[in-house]
């Protein structure tokens, strides 16, 4: 009886939030791949095999093999961990830097606000891929540089968000009350402002994660991200592009993986956003 109740509740929830549900279902396999690649992969993702170069998809190799005889399916499975972890790192760093600077700017205003917001405006004045490309090129190629470059162009989004929230909350009565009771600035920030900003930050993160996967894949596709044997999706598509018109499977499957993850996370983020503002 209890189980039925849970199932009924879940069905109702899913029917009410179709975007959230579809997004969740799309992203679920990739989260599992990222957590337990050893279980889902059928082969070693970096093991080459001269006898099986360019094999088309088959029962043995679900997604075929690449130009070095590596199993494309297993590489896509292992790639999930790289993409999801790297995207989380990008957003994590960007969020941390942005939250600190945005709160400082919004809370103390004055010159710190002016300096920080000028920097924010300047960074946002670039198309993000272009600035990330320049930073990542200057740092030298590699996954680490790509992650740093992506975070470097992303933090202003969070700084702007937090500044707005902080200014808005600082004018609220409960903050004035806390001030009147003699609460210190850090106490107000940590007890009253940040806890009230958490939901907005989470929604923003859920919307941005998909875009971070995309930015990272784009940088790798250009040749700035992960290098040779690493099974990173963008880099796999970049290599697969050379053979795309004949051995399409080498690039097509990682390309589809990128698309599904980005669509899935975007739907999930949109769903969360809608769940917060049912009036939208």
């Amino acid at each position: 009886m209890g189980d039925d109740h849970v199932v009924a509740k879940l069905t109702k929830f899913c029917r009410r939030n179709p975007g959230l549900t579809t997004g969740g279902l799309l992203i679920l396999p990739f989260v599992l791949f990222a957590l337990l690649p050893e279980i889902f992969a059928s082969h070693d993702p970096t093991k080459t095999s001269i006898r099986e170069l360019y094999a088309p998809p088959s029962a043995e190799h679900f997604f075929g093999t690449d130009e070095l005889g590596r199993d494309v399916y297993s590489r896509v499975v292992y790639g999930a961990r790289i993409s999801l972890v790297a995207a989380s790192l990008i957003i994590g760093v960007a969020c941390l830097v942005g939250v600190v600077l945005g709160t400082v700017a919004g809370f103390w205003r004055g010159w710190s606000d002016r300096v920080i917001m000028t920097l924010v405006d300047l960074v946002l004045a670039f198309p993000s891929l272009i600035l990330a490309l320049a930073v990542s090129a200057a740092l030298g190629p590699g996954l680490r540089s790509a992650i740093i470059a992506a975070a470097a162009v992303w933090w202003p989004v969070y700084a702007r968000l937090l500044r707005g929230i902080t200014i808005q909350l600082s004018e609220m009565e409960f903050v004035t009350a806390a001030r009147a009771m003699g609460a210190s600035s850090p106490a107000i920030i940590f007890r009253h402002i940040l806890p009230n900003a958490v939901y907005a930050i989470i929604v923003r993160i859920s919307l941005d994660l998909g875009l971070a996967v995309l930015l990272l894949a784009s940088l790798s596709f250009i040749g700035l991200g992960a290098s040779a044997p690493t099974p990173e999706w963008g880099a796999m598509v970049a290599w697969g592009r050379i053979y795309f018109l004949t051995e399409w499977w080498i690039g097509a499957f990682p390309a589809v993986a990128i698309t599904l993850v980005v669509v899935g996370i975007t739907l999930l983020g949109d769903g969360l956003n809608d769940a917060r503002n049912p009036n939208r």
Binding site: F126, L129, A255, L267
Partner: protein, 335 residues
């Protein structure tokens, strides 16, 4: 309006200066060594040092900065480390290709995006609306380079409807240079076959670049239209007995355009970023591909130059969009 334009222009100049500073800092502070790149992989340390002096990289930070900025003011973006050609000359050659791609994509996004948005709003909740909303989700999720690859595979390789890559076949000479846009130049020269061929070459890259953005455009137009259609003055117009077509096109449309213009401003950035990747797939000889080629060979000044030019296009077009916005909605000016 005149005062406003002046104000925006001043902000624009300050912003461009700031952006140049950021790019300069990026090149100076980060670890890559331009002199080592210029000297090549087999260079001896003393060769690298010699080049460092030659390129002025041994001078103090502020001196380099002044040289760089005064160079920028004259339109000098430095020399390519590999070819030793002026980066600005290279970029001038590449610019029209990107411009042609972006202009055609922009036109497609505006025309198709707005009409799809109106279609969706007028049919809110019915099949066309649902189809367009699905397209939005897919369009936003597919990376432009993935879409470009699949378009190539399906429409160039399998169906052979459109050429695979480039701006023109190798056997056809480009039309005489006037604007650098092959479609316009070939028309001016009366070369119909060249015109037709360049249009065919544009179809797939433009499709790859605009599909996702088009969907976003449709979404913005839809919500803008729905909001204006529920306004009292629209009801009044209907009550006066005006035809539905007139109500929508004359009364609702202009106000619905306001969010669409905002959308356009955001789109330009995506369009330029996307163009970089699409140009790579279609070996389109534009700014983006130049930037990527320079990145791969660590040709540093070329990367910075290309990034700066793309950023300038972005900021300038955003300023224009901003002014357009004020033109459309006079209320904004008085705030």
């Amino acid at each position: 309006m005149g005062r406003l334009i002046l104000e925006r222009l001043l902000t624009l100049i300050l912003k461009l200066f700031g952006m140049a500073v950021i790019l300069f800092v990026v090149t100076q502070v980060l670890p890559a060594d331009p002199a080592a790149v210029a000297a090549g992989t087999n260079a001896r340390p003393e060769q690298i040092e010699k080049l460092r002096v030659e390129l002025g990289l041994d001078r103090p930070f502020h001196e380099q900065f002044i040289t760089y900025i005064s160079g920028l003011a004259r339109g000098d973006l430095g020399k390519s480390l590999l070819t030793r050609r002026a980066v600005s000359d290279d970029l001038r050659l590449r610019f029209p290709a990107t411009a042609e791609l972006a202009i055609f994509s922009g036109v497609v996004i505006v025309i198709l995006g707005i009409s799809m948005g109106i279609l969706a709003a007028v049919n809110a909740g019915r099949t066309p609306d649902i189809l367009i909303r699905m397209l939005v989700v897919v369009g936003m999720g597919i990376p432009p380079f993935v879409l470009a690859l699949f378009l190539q595979l399906i429409f160039a390789k399998s169906l052979d409807w459109f050429p695979l890559e480039g701006r023109l076949p190798t056997l056809i000479a480009p039309p005489p240079h006037v604007t650098g846009l092959y479609t316009i130049d070939s028309l001016l020269a009366g070369q119909w076959d060249v015109f037709w061929s360049s249009v065919q070459h544009l179809v797939l890259p433009v499709a790859a670049l605009s599909l996702g953005r088009l969907a976003v455009g449709a979404r913005f137009t839809r919500s803008g239209m729905l909001e204006t259609l529920s306004q009292p003055y629209v009801r009044t117009a209907r009550a006066k007995g005006l035809s539905e077509k007139r109500v929508i096109l004359r009364h609702a449309f202009r106000n619905a355009l306001i969010p669409v213009v905002t959308m356009l401003g955001i789109q330009i950035g995506f369009l330029l970023s996307g163009a970089v990747l699409v140009e790579v797939v279609f070996t389109w000889p534009g700014l983006g591909r130049y930037a990527v080629e320079s990145v791969v060979s660590f040709d540093f000044y070329a990367v910075i130059g290309a990034a700066l030019v793309i950023a300038v296009i972005f900021v300038v077009s955003n300023t224009i969009v901003d002014l357009l916005y004020v033109q459309l909605d006079p209320r904004i000016q008085h705030q």
